[in-house]
Amino acid sequence: MNDGPRKITLEEWEARYTALLAAGMREPWYGGPLSRHVADGDYRLRTLYFDNSAAALRLWNFLLTEEDRLREARAQGKTIVGAMKDLGTVPVIAFSLSNVVAFYPDGAWWIPCIMELSAGLFRIADKLGVNDAFCPVRAMLGAFVNEAHFPIPDLLTCSVGATCDDFSAIAQRLEGLGHGILWWEIPRRRVPDPGEDAVLLPGGFVAPASQAAFVRSELERVRAAIETAAGTRLDDAALNAGIAAANRVRRLLAALRREAFMAERAPLPALEMLIAEMLAIHFCSDRAETEEVLQDLLAEVRTRVDARQGVLPRDAVRVFWVNPVADLRAMNLLEECGGRICGTEYLFCHALDAIPEDLAPMDALARTALADPMAGSAGDRAARICRDADAFGAEALVVSRIPGASHCASEGVIIRETVHETLRIPTVEIEVPPVCDALQQTLRTRIEALVETARARRSR
C-alpha cells in the first residue's frame, strides 16, 4: 500500500483506515471509517476521490457529523441559532456565548449532492412553489419541513438587501411556513462621496462611515435577539474573545491557503480545500473543534510541502476557482483534467480576512459584514479576484455558476472580462448542477480546453 500523499476512493479508504488505526491513529468522538456515512445516505461519497491523510479523514468526519453535534447541543439545552445568508458574521456573535451554537441552514444546499437527490428535499421545495428556477439552496426548505437534517433553530436570522435575491425569496417562503426570522439589512456598499466620512474595510475596500454605522445598528439588533434567545447578556469582553477565536480560525485558513496554493506541488486536493474553507463561515457548529481540524490539516500540508510531496503532478495547471460548486465531484474533475487549485473566491472571501481587533467589536463586525463580496459591485469582486489570482500565480480561471443563483447570473462575464484584461489569462465559465454526472463530459471539455490553453501558453 502506498502511504504517500495521494487521492483515493471510498473503497480504498477502508484499507487505509485499518492501516492508520494499526499505526496508532487517534480519533475524536466523531471519528470512524468514511464508508459509514454511505449507510446514512451520503451516496455521493462513492463517486468522489479523497485525500488519504488522517487529517483529511478528520475533516470529512467533522463535516458529516454536524447534524449529530446540533442534536447534542439541543439535548444539552444550548440555544441554537440558524444564521442564514450572512456569511460569517452572525456566527461570530453567537459563538461568543458559551451556551449558544450557530449553524448555517443554507448549508443544506449540499444535501441533494451528498445524498444524490435521495433525501427528496427538492421535491418538498417544488411542492412549496420554489422550483428549479431557484438556487439549489431551496433544499433548505425541505430540510426545515422534514426536520431530518438539523433541529429547528431557536432563533433564525437572515441578512437581506445587498444579498442573493433567490435566497431572500426562499427565506420569505420559509417564514411563510411559520418559522419566524429576524431580518437584518446589509446595504449595497458604495464608494464614499467626496468629503464624506469613510472607513476602511477588511480586504482593502472603503465605505461611507454612515453605512458602517447602519450595519452596526442592524447587528446590534441581532446581538440583542441572541441575548434574549440565550437568556444571557453578551458583554464586549466576551465578544472580543469571540472575535479573537474567529480570527484564530481565519489565520489558520489563511496559512493553509498560502501553503497549499503556493506550493510547487499541490499538497492537498481541491475538494478538501473547499471543505476546509467553508469552515470559516459556519465552524461546522463547533468553533473549538474547527481549530483542531484545521491545525491537523495545516500540519499535514506543511509536512508534505517540506518533503516536496503532493497529490497531483508538478506540472498541473494553476487554476483560480470562483464560486462554490453545487456538486463536489466538480473539484475532482478539475484535477482529472490536469488542473490544480491555486486560489479561490467562494463568495465569502471577507470571512477569510481577519476581523479588526483594534476597533470596538460591533464596529469591527459591521465593517467585516460590509466587505462581503455580495454587498459590493461585481467590479469590486472582480478586482479582488484579480489581485488574489495574481498573488497566487494563477495560469487560468474558472467561474463556476450555480444554477438559478441570481447573484452570479451576470457576474461571470464581468469577472472574466476583468481577469482577461488585467491578467491576460484564459478563463472559462461553467454551470455545475447538484448532481453533474450527465454533464461531466460537457464540463470536462470546458475544463480540459482551459488546461490545454494554459499549457500552450507556457510553451509559447
Binding site: E417, P426, T427, R446, A449, E452, T453, A456, R460
Partner: protein, 268 residues
Amino acid sequence: MIVVGVDAGSRAIKAVLWDAECGGAAASGVVDQGVEQDALALRLLARLLADAGRTRAEVARIVATGCGRHILRFADAAMTEITCHAVGVRHVAPDANTIVEVGGQDSKLIRLDRNGVVRDFVMNDRCAAGTGRFLEMAATRLGVSLGSFGALAERCRKPAVISSMCVVFAETEIIGLLASGVAPEDIAAGIQASIAARVAGMSGRRIETPIVFTGGVALVPGMAAALEAAFRQPVSTAPEPLMTGALGAALLAARDLPDGAFRGRSSQ
C-alpha cells in the same frame, strides 16, 4: 509515415489521414455518429486507409478530439475541440484571429494570438441554444431536411423574430408562428439570425478579425451571412469546415512525431 486525427462529434465522426512525410492529407471521411463510437471510428479508419492504399502498420500516431474523444480506445492521445479547431483552422486560414465553430451540440468562439495559440475561448452554455441541434429541431418542425434548410432561409422576405434562445421554448414559438401563417422561409431565416445572435453574444465587447467560421453548421447556406450580420464584421467560411477539428488533431499527432517527420504550417 501516416498520422490520424479523429473528431468524434455529437452528430458525426470525422477522420483525416495525414501524410507526415509529404505534408498533406492522404484521405478524409465522415460517418454518422452512433452508440458504438469506438467501432464506428475504427471502421472509418479502416476504410480511409484502404482508400489511401495504406496499412494500419503505417499509422504512427492517432489523436482523438470531439465529445467522444475519451471513448476512442485506439487513440494515442485526446485533445479538446478548442485546441484542434484552432490548429486546423490556422492551417487552412493562416491569418485567422477569431474562430467561430458551431457543431451539433456546442458552439465556440476561439480567440488566437498572433502565433495561432489559443488566447481565450468561450463556449455555449450547456443548453443547445446556438448549436446545430437548434437547427435540426427547426428543420424538423418546418418539414425540411437539414440539407435544404439554408435554401429555404434564402427565400425569406422578412425574417421572423424568434425571441427564445432555449430550443424547447423556440419550438413552441415556431409552432405558434406557423399557426399564425408566417411563411416557413421567414421562420428559417429567423432561426438562423437567432443562432447567429447567440454566438455573437458570446464574443463580449471585442471581436478581432479575420473571423473564420467552421464546424458542421458552417455548411448550412446563409449561416455565414447571418453571422456577418450579427458580428457586423466579415466572416469567411473555412474550407471543408466539417473537417477542421479532425485536421487539427492530425496535425497535432504529426507534431508529436520525431523531429523532421512533420511538415505542416500549424504553429500552435
